[in-house]
Amino acid sequence: MKIKVLGPGCAKCNKTETLIREAVAEAGADADVVKITDMMEIAALGVVSTPAVIVDDAVKSTGKVPKKKEVMSWLGQ
């Protein structure tokens, strides 16, 4: 599983990244978490509002810090 956290580095984006990493560790999921901060890359992925989370090429959440429960459901928990 490949998880991308998109955000130029605002407070909410960092919070999202921390949350995702925690959730992955907690679920023991085999997931690769990358943070994308480059504006061009973010725009190219079709995301309009950050922070956004992409799991295996599917945009799961944009413009907000997701809830832990949501993250767990993406991880198949």
């Binding site: 955000g7 130029p8 580095g9 605002c10 407070a11 909410k12 984006c13 504006m39 061009m40 973010i42 725009a43 190219a44 992925l45 079709g46 995301v47 309009v48 509002s49 950050t50 599917a58 945009v59 799961k60 959440s61 944009t62 413009g63 907000k64």
Partner: protein
């Protein structure tokens, strides 16, 4: 069996909604009781608890601070909560889909209005800009959105209403929308599309479709509560600083001194207010308490509005961020057009009031 369980669930849902409503009404009533007693509490704290004399400079400053801080915070909690619920119906993605292919003028008006209710963080201005333009939202319409979103918002509305009164709040909202609509329209008319950085049009944008979960009313109430926690958590420092500076001005700056600098008789007072505002980086939360204090010391409303708008709408950090997608000429046009709009608003109000 299934019939009975759905029935029970429906009843449960009803009682839950009823409980929510009752709790809401009760908290509104409590809010009102506390809000009403704020002036008395501030006076008691300042003059009875602290050894300060009525009418002294320090006393006036402290009382102002102790009254305005909780008042503004309480108003903000209320406004942000209800606007948060409205916002839960909007996303930038929906706004983009709605605006793409819209004609000019109608598009400008819609974009400015949607700028008020669409959740937007200035840190994602660049992806938003690219997302809008590549999806076929006209450049001028995109600008109307980008000008209105930070300028006309619930924080400005709540603060102006609480500190300066509803008339100025309405004037600010109206003129802010006017500037966003007309500046966007003018930029659109000027056909400056080729002054967008080249890499933007080369960016192949993936069609994004967010899987959207259906929100229930409970979700929306939670969304409103989260907005309160998030926004108040972010702006309370600015508000304290702003009210602190305002309280200092209130107690120590002599009456009428602002009349000479920001009064309506001097023709240069409006452009000066705009120039002073650009390098200052603050949001509505920090600047409005200061503006309120300036108004109390004889600043003209037009000059004060111009100062406030230029602090919020024309800030150097935002210009630096936008420089990533706009060529210098387009940046210059953007700043010039918005500045002209602000000047116009400033002169207009100095003239008629």
């Amino acid at each position: 069996m299934t019939f009975i369980s759905t029935h029970i669930r429906r009843v449960n849902k009803k009682t839950k909604a009823g409980a929510f409503l009752a709790a809401g009404a009760l908290s509104l009533y409590l809010w009102w009781l506390v809000y009403r007693s704020l002036p008395a509490v501030a006076q008691w704290l300042t003059y009875d608890l602290l050894p300060l004399a009525r009418g002294s400079h320090t006393g006036a400053s402290i009382e102002f601070f102790l009254y305005d801080t909780p008042k503004v915070m309480m108003l903000l909690v209320l406004v942000v909560f209800f606007v948060g619920i409205i916002r839960s119906f909007f996303t930038p993605e929906k706004t983009r889909a709605f605006l793409s292919g819209k004609s000019e003028l109608a598009g400008n008006v819609l974009a400015a209005l949607l700028g008020i209710v669409t959740p937007f963080c200035s840190c994602s201005a660049v992806p938003l800009f690219i997302g809008f333009v590549t999806a076929g939202v006209p450049l001028g319409v995109t600008f109307s959105f980008l000008i209105a979103a930070p300028m006309v918002n619930e924080i400005a509305l709540g603060l102006l209403y609480g500190l300066v009164g509803w008339k100025v709040a309405v004037i600010y909202m109206g003129t802010g929308l006017f500037i966003a609509i007309s500046a966007g329209w003018i930029i659109g008319r000027m056909k400056l599309e080729h002054h967008i950085e080249d890499w933007v049009s080369r960016t192949a944008v993936a069609g994004s479709s967010v899987e959207e979960a259906q929100m229930t009313w409970t979700d929306r109430l939670v969304y409103g509560r989260d907005a309160v926690v998030e926004i108040i958590g972010r702006v309370w420092v600015y508000i304290l600083l702003g009210i602190g500076v305002g309280a200092g001005i209130h107690g120590f700056v002599p009456e009428g001194i602002m009349a000479s600098v920001m009064g309506k008789d001097a023709w240069w007072s409006v452009p000066l207010s705009v120039l002073m505002g650009v390098p200052m980086y603050s949001n509505a939360a920090g600047v409005i308490p200061v503006v309120e204090a300036l108004l109390g010391k004889g600043a003209a409303l037009g000059s004060a509005l111009a100062f406030m708008m230029s602090v919020i709408a024309l800030s150097l950090p935002e210009i630096v961020i936008l420089r990533k997608v706009l060529k210098p000429r387009l940046i210059a046009v953007f700043v010039a057009v918005v500045a002209c709009g602000i000047l116009l608003v400033g002169y207009m109000f100095n003239l008629i009031l």
